[in-house]
């Protein structure tokens, strides 16, 4: 990456605020600056892709050239109690989550 690319800003302060809001993250000033810098570097790196001419290339939605992986509608026994053991907080059989609204 060239020095010039590194200095370029690919993500605005406002966009970082928006992302933090979507991810439900409360960022300190320090974290905010650090994250913005990192995101900027990642996006700058991805800008390299823009250099490729894709004019006549059709979009790819999957990297593997396979289609139609399907299964039969037959239930299989599950181990719900084992999964519940991993839940950080429970009440009876419910999984507890923070208040959302």
């Amino acid at each position: 990456m060239t020095k010039k690319q590194r200095q370029e800003q690919f993500i605005s302060e406002k966009e970082v605020e928006h992302l933090a809001e979507l991810a439900k993250l409360e960022l300190s000033k320090k974290e905010f600056t650090k994250l913005r810098g990192e995101l900027n570097e990642i996006l700058g790196y991805f800008r390299l892709i823009d250099e490729v001419d894709t004019e006549n290339v059709s979009p790819t939605y999957h990297v593997q050239d396979i289609v139609n992986v399907l299964r039969d509608d037959t239930p299989t026994p599950q181990q719900p109690d084992m999964l519940l053991e991993d839940a950080p907080q429970k009440k009876d059989r419910f999984i507890k989550a923070p208040k959302m609204i």
Binding site: H18, E21, L22, A23, K24, P59, Y61, H62, V63, Q64, I66, V67, N68, V69, L70, R71, D72, D73, T74, P75, T76, Q78, Q79, P80, L83, L84, D86, K91, D92, R93, F94, I95, K96, A97, P98, K99, M100, I101
Partner: protein, 483 residues
């Protein structure tokens, strides 16, 4: 329900329907019969979002969705994709919902469908997509006062079909007719049991001339939709009449208070950052596949209504009412096997029964009556054993008690009076009690109805009207001659 002025009203519907006849979830083999189960019993690493778990699409879900798409006149694209809809909310453990998308190169399950209303008006259905149902959340007390959220993932991953109409409805009544037709189609396809709690949900958007679009979320049954829409029209109209502009917003239907409440969602939450779900490969829906599904389709309500008209000589209107619910149409056909007069039978089921059910807010199922009850009813009338008018008494008694109509008719003495001697002596009595009416009837043939009414009243409608009519006219002619 009161009718109101619906000028300038535009309504669109978004229906979510679970494909309840599937045994497993959409992307995993967890059982789908979650109703009545203890929380978090029908779960596996996929539907609980364990890192590293991979979704695999349910083949039967694709077939059932294709049946719905064909029944609703959709175009099925040759290839479809799944997308991730990203949001942070505990009802999806993965922090995204696997759904479909019609932008960013996404291809929904089907596009450009429609349902035609009885008026001939076509309601366009822009798209249909397959997606997973989120988990069920509950709270300590109310949603506002609770300090925690309790999550039950049994419902997470259940197959949903989302059906989105264009804003083509011009009244709540049209929306109701559409939903009646849609539910009958789903019942006839046997893909969904709409009577199961929570199997269908509806959102509606509604705008009126000069106002902005308001979205009403969380209408939990088709029956509530017309009510919610009527409320919203009244609310918006009253705002407009006070000179207040209707704002664009999302409201929530409160089923208990029967009002819509503003949700005040932050705009920020609407950014779902859709992108293709790389854990699922594209699905091709070949012409051959669509052909095969088409071949396996059962009879649809519209075809059935036409057959009823042809085979049972029903009126178009009666046939339409009967096919509105599959259970009623099945009941009719079963009863018709025991009846010599399907037209008579159709009218009891489509008219008299419906009036009773509406009045008492009951369903046919609750009445615990057999098709034979209605067949006997129809047979009694069509054979002339009981008049249509007197039969009504037996009918209501039958619905209330579950007794067979003939035994009610015998007990209450509803049988048609065929003894003409009795009728003649009754006419003597009525003529002598009503001399003025007799004079009127002699001058004006229309006035004879009063005398006929007296006979019907005295016998509770048990005299065959044709017989009474003939005898009264004979008596009047004789009186005229003797003058």
């Amino acid at each position: 329900m009161h009718e109101q002025d619906t000028e300038g009203v535009k309504i669109g519907l978004e229906v979510h329907c679970q494909l309840t006849s599937l045994a497993t979830k959409l992307f995993c083999s967890s059982p789908s019969d979650y109703r009545g189960k203890p929380p978090n019993t029908n779960i596996c690493p996929v539907c609980i979002g364990t890192p590293g778990s991979l979704p695999v699409l349910n083949r039967k879900a694709v077939t059932h969705a294709a049946m719905i798409a064909l029944a609703l006149n959709f175009k099925i694209p040759e290839r479809m994709l799944f997308f991730r809809k990203n949001y942070f909310y505990p009802d999806m453990a993965k922090n995204f919902q696997i759904t479909q998308y019609d932008r960013a190169g996404g291809v929904p399950f089907a596009t450009d469908g429609h349902i035609t209303l009885d008026s001939g008006k076509r309601i366009r259905i822009g798209r249909m997509q397959l997606e997973e149902d989120p988990a069920k959340l509950s709270y300590d007390g109310t949603i506002e006062s609770s300090t925690q959220t309790f999550v039950d993932y049994n419902r997470a991953g259940i197959t949903l079909v989302e059906i989105v109409t264009d804003p083509d409805f011009e009244s709540p009544r049209e929306a109701r007719e559409f939903l009646n037709k849609l539910s009958s189609i789903l019942e006839h396809l046997s893909v969904s049991d709409l009577n199961l709690e929570g199997s269908v949900r509806c959102d509606a958007n509604i705008s009126m001339a000069g106002g902005r679009r308001v979205e009403v979320k969380n209408i939990s049954s088709f029956k509530e939709v017309e009510r919610a829409l009527n409320f919203e029209i009244t609310r918006q109209r009253s705002l407009t009449s006070k000179g207040i502009k209707v704002m664009q917003e999302t409201r929530h239907w409160d089923e208990i208070r029967r009002i819509t409440i503003s949700l005040r969602l932050k705009e920020e939450e609407q950014d779902y950052r859709y992108f293709p779900e790389a854990d699922l490969v594209p699905v091709t829906l070949t012409k051959q596949f669509v052909q095969d599904v088409k071949k396996g389709m059962p009879e649809m309500p519209e075809e059935r209504a036409k057959r009823f008209q042809k085979d049972y000589h029903l009126s178009g209107e009666t046939a339409q009412i009967l096919v509105r619910e599959k259970a009623l149409a099945d009941f009719f056909e079963e009863a018709a096997k025991h009846s010599k007069d399907a037209r008579q039978l159709g009218s009891w089921l489509a008219v008299d029964l419906q009036a009773y059910l509406n009045e008492y807010g009951k369903s046919l199922e609750e009445l615990k009556l057999t098709p034979k009850h209605f067949a006997e009813m129809a047979n009694m009338v069509s054979s002339g054993e009981v008049s249509r008018g007197a039969a009504k008494t037996a009918f209501v008694e039958m619905l209330k008690t579950g007794r067979m109509p003939r035994s009610i008719s015998e007990e209450k003495g509803l049988k048609v009076i065929s003894d003409t001697g009795f009728v003649e002596s009754l006419i003597d009595k009525i003529f002598s009690e009503n001399p003025q009416a007799v004079q009127d009837a002699l001058k004006d043939p229309k006035a004879v109805n009063f005398l006929l009414g007296q006979i019907m009243r005295a016998t509770k409608g048990r005299v065959d009207p044709a017989v009474a009519n003939r005898l009264v006219r004979e008596r009047l002619a004789a009186a005229k001659g003797s003058k």
